[in-house]
């Protein structure tokens, strides 16, 4: 089963028999059987889709995502609403202490994974700065773990401070291109931030798909503020995977990124997407079995769903290297 990412301006996605056809300048570039497709991610402007294709995708449960740097939208059926009880429990639990406990676990997972990424990327060198940053991470993790009267502001505070250490460290150790000064989310004109935003958009689609499959409401989260059109649960769950899936691949591409100008980002778009998708299809240890990261994410999201229904405890997935 495949995830299709369409990147190029001016492409046409159509349907022929039960196959997706990808056309450019009138000629067929690729044909893929619909029964082999999981998601279609449209990550560029100016791509057209036929209504027959959209209809067939909806019948088969193939989700279609549209991401640009400023917006997100998804097409999928309401078939998943058979899980209405999960949503009911989710709305209830998010308001209670259980919601905060989940937020605490997610952020502990995020910090541990960020720590692992720092150690992995700078495994070749030893210095005091590295030890200081790792110590700060350890302190933040233990603060989060041991705090009794937890609040949203406290979690967000620790997360924010750790994120600033994290990017400061990556910048100082030259693990990111020199043009990187600070992290900007939208409308960035700096290539590292553009690459990070592009990578997070791909990861976002995977988490969104996993949440819909698990019957969760993607717009009602535990940590990010609940606001119209803000998929806060996705953003909450994403925190765990950002550093391992996206940041690590951006760090790997740093020399190419530093040689490329922001307006020419399209040239390395494909390589970054390939690396991220390879990471997601790579197998890692999970409960004494080896599963692809994509399946691990899906199982973790099922666990979130189970947590809301009071059936089990949620434990973050920590990457080892």
């Amino acid at each position: 089963m495949k995830h299709i990412i369409v990147n190029n301006y001016g492409m046409f996605l159509g349907l022929k028999s039960q196959r997706l056809t990808i056309k450019q300048d009138g000629s067929i570039k690729n044909e893929i059987a619909l029964n082999r497709i999981k998601t279609i991610q449209v990550l560029s402007r100016g791509i057209s889709l036929s209504s027959d294709l959209i209809n067939s995708c909806s019948q088969r449960g193939i989700k279609i995502f549209f991401n640009t740097f400023n917006s997100f939208s998804a097409l999928h059926t309401l078939y998943e609403h058979k899980s209405v009880m999960v949503r009911k429990y989710q709305f209830e639990k998010c308001e209670l202490i259980e919601g905060l406990e989940l937020a605490r676990t997610l952020i502990i997972g995020k910090l541990k994974n960020q720590r692992a990424t720092l150690l992995y990327s700078s495994r070749g060198f030893e210095n005091e700065f590295k030890h200081n940053v790792i110590e700060k991470f350890d302190k933040s993790i233990s603060q989060l773990k041991n705090k009794k009267d937890i609040s949203k502001d406290f979690i967000l505070g620790i997360e924010g401070v750790s994120a600033s250490y994290y990017f400061e460290y990556l910048k100082s150790m030259e693990l990111l291109p020199r043009s990187f000064k600070y992290r900007t989310k939208r409308h960035s004109e700096e290539i590292t931030n553009i690459a990070l935003n592009y990578g997070y958009a791909i990861l976002f689609n995977f988490i969104y798909k996993a949440c819909i499959n698990a019957g969760l409401e993607p717009y009602y989260g535990v940590l990010h503020s609940v606001r119209s059109a803000k998929p806060s649960l996705i953003l909450d769950i994403m925190e765990e995977y950002r550093s391992f899936v996206v940041d690590r691949n951006v760090i790997k591409l740093r020399s190419k990124l530093s040689k490329t100008k922001a307006e020419n980002f399209d040239k390395i778009k494909k390589e970054l997407a390939t690396n991220i998708l390879k990471t997601l299809s790579k197998k890692y240890k999970y409960n004494h079995r080896k599963l692809t990261l994509e399946s691990i994410i899906q199982r973790q999201v099922y666990k979130v769903s189970g947590y809301f229904c009071s059936q089990n405890k949620y434990k973050s997935y920590i990457f080892r290297w």
């Binding site: 299709i4 190029n8 196959r19 990808i22 059987a33 029964n35 390939t274 998708l277 299809s281």
Partner: protein
């Protein structure tokens, strides 16, 4: 779960042959010769192909078969093909 197969067929009626060709492509198989398809299928898809035989082939005139293969490893015994023709299905495609 996925196994590599080859489907070979000889169907005399053009209309039925074309439909059969399309249905095999819809299952994700790749046409490697005029009446030969290759690809990775699930056991259930293999059963679907056998049903297609019954639908499109007539016992008096037509012939078709499925056989399990490892074509990607047996490239030395073939002619005119290269590794890319028998690539393992990736979990993603970027276009």
């Amino acid at each position: 779960m996925y196994t590599q197969i080859i489907v070979g067929y000889d169907i005399s009626e053009t209309k039925k042959r074309n439909k059969f060709f399309d249905e095999l492509k819809d299952l994700g198989l790749v046409s490697i010769q005029k009446s030969v398809f290759w690809g990775y299928v699930l056991p259930s898809e293999k059963r679907v192909i056998k049903e297609l035989f019954k639908k499109y082939c007539q016992i008096e005139t037509d012939k078709a078969f499925i056989v399990n293969v490892t074509l990607d490893k047996d490239l030395n015994d073939s002619f005119g093909y290269d590794n890319e023709d028998f690539s393992h299905p990736e979990s993603f495609e970027i276009v």
